[in-house]
């Protein structure tokens, strides 16, 4: 059995209490809304992409510690990355949360703290919601993203 500390690592608790890059920027270029109808978590991701790179990224939302920390750490992870790199990080991240034998990849850096989430299958969606919303913002899809 995994210990609760494996899930609620210090970094996660810290980012959930003091989320980084939180708030709506003065001018919005691309954005998307995400929603988890199961638990009511909501997140909006704001993006500015310049020259194929994520120049600005921030978010707003309400949700559990896992989803808020995931959004916060996501903004740090993808800032200044190319769109292709950002997508690749999400792919690694997704495998980390769902794959049995995956080990944190160097590319994941701080995001490795979410490794413990895979022992809590009902919470995987909490961690991936901000990322699905980021992808929607990258594609600037108009409709809201739902985890369902």
């Amino acid at each position: 059995m995994s210990d609760l500390r494996d899930l609620y690592q210090e970094v996660i608790v810290d980012h959930s209490k003091r989320p980084r890059n939180f708030g709506k920027p003065a001018s919005v270029h691309q954005h998307a809304d995400g929603h988890n109808p199961l638990c009511g978590d909501t997140v909006t991701v704001y993006l500015t992409v310049e020259g194929g790179k994520v120049a600005e990224v921030s978010f707003e939302g309400r949700g559990c510690a896992i989803s808020m920390a995931s959004a916060s750490l996501m903004t740090e992870a993808v800032k200044d990355k190319t769109v292709a790199e950002a997508r690749a990080i999400f792919e690694h991240f997704h495998r980390l949360l769902t794959g049995k034998d995956e080990f944190p990849d160097d590319a994941l850096d701080k995001l490795a703290v979410f490794e413990g989430v895979r022992d809590y299958p009902v919470r995987v969606k909490c961690a991936t919601l901000p990322w699905h919303t980021l992808v929607a913002a990258l594609e600037s899809r108009a409709e809201a993203v739902s985890t369902e």
Binding site: G40, D41, A65, I66, Y120, R123, C126
Partner: protein, 417 residues
Amino acid sequence: MNAVVVATKAKRPFDVARIRADFPILARTVYDKPLVFLDSAASAQKPRAVIDVLSRTYENEYANIHRGVYYLSQKTTDAFEAARETARRLLNAREAKEIVFVRGGTEAINLVAQSWGFANLKAGDEVVLTELEHHSNIVPWQLLRDRTGIVIRAIPVDETGTLDMDAYAKLLNPRTKLVAVTHCSNVTGTVPPIKEIARMAHAQGALVLVDGCQSAPRLAIDVQDLDCDFYVVTGHKLYGPSGTGFLYGKAELLDAMPPYQGGGGMIRRVSFERTEYAEVPHRFEAGTPNIAGTIGLAAAMDYVMDLGLDAIERHEAKVLDYAHKRLSEINSVRIVGTAKDKASILSFNIGEVHPHDVGTILDREGVAVRVGHHCAQPLMDKLGLVATVRASFGVYNTMEDVDALCAAVQKVQRFFG
């Protein structure tokens, strides 16, 4: 209340240790910790008596009902119809035919909306709900609204979760045709004054539907004394099998209602030109019902009646009071729902910690609670909340369960403090 309601007379002393021994699942552990089950409002655990009746039925006395001429079919039919009498006793209904078996509370309310509602309501007629309602007592009326153009109104609640009865009085008018109200909120535990609500509705010529999904396992109920027109009970919260439940309706109302679903078992004679429907209650029981489940539900009803609903109510009130007191002593805990009349359902939040995180941490301590909006989003919106943590108590819960809950809540505080 009627002093001689049979259902409330206990046949055995209320001994929690012995009651716990009746529920096999309570002996198990989760994550190597004893199970502390505080989610009976979502679905209650089942006593051995119910489990045994299910297997006895399937092993010994099972066949389809109301059809066969052979021994087993007759035996099974008798047991199924005996369940109707048991349900009548539980609610102190006048006649067993006033009990219609359905698959649960949701189906019972949809039945009333689609059968009685569609036959009797027209555009502009008003249905009064309350802000306490579960989605299953909101959405069926919205579906009916889409078909008929009825108007839906809701009695407001205050911040304690108490219904505003003055506002209710003002909502009532000659267009009001139905008041549909819960007998116990599944979020705040609020127990509205049903008798008063019914009296006021009837004075306006409106009917009253009571959602008893949460009250039937917790309170002694007498539908004649309450004078409600419909009463809804779901089986799985009443220590019975899932996929069972029943609707009580006053005989003269049921007699006048068209069928809800069409199929076998609800007819007298079918030709392609014309079908004659069966008498009440069979008119509303199309198709093969949950036969064994309903017989199991009767065992569950016998179980709670043997304990005595009054005794259950007293026991759970004690556990609830203790939980209120202990949780209030924890600084960061804010209790949601402090109505004066309240049954054993307790919602709360811990500081700014999201209920889902609370649920996960409690779970690892073996404490099973429900977190989320509890299928009552209008109430959440009204109270300005996204979600709550909900502990709900049943016949088997003890003061020690409350202590375990509080210890786990302290642990949440340590994590997020």
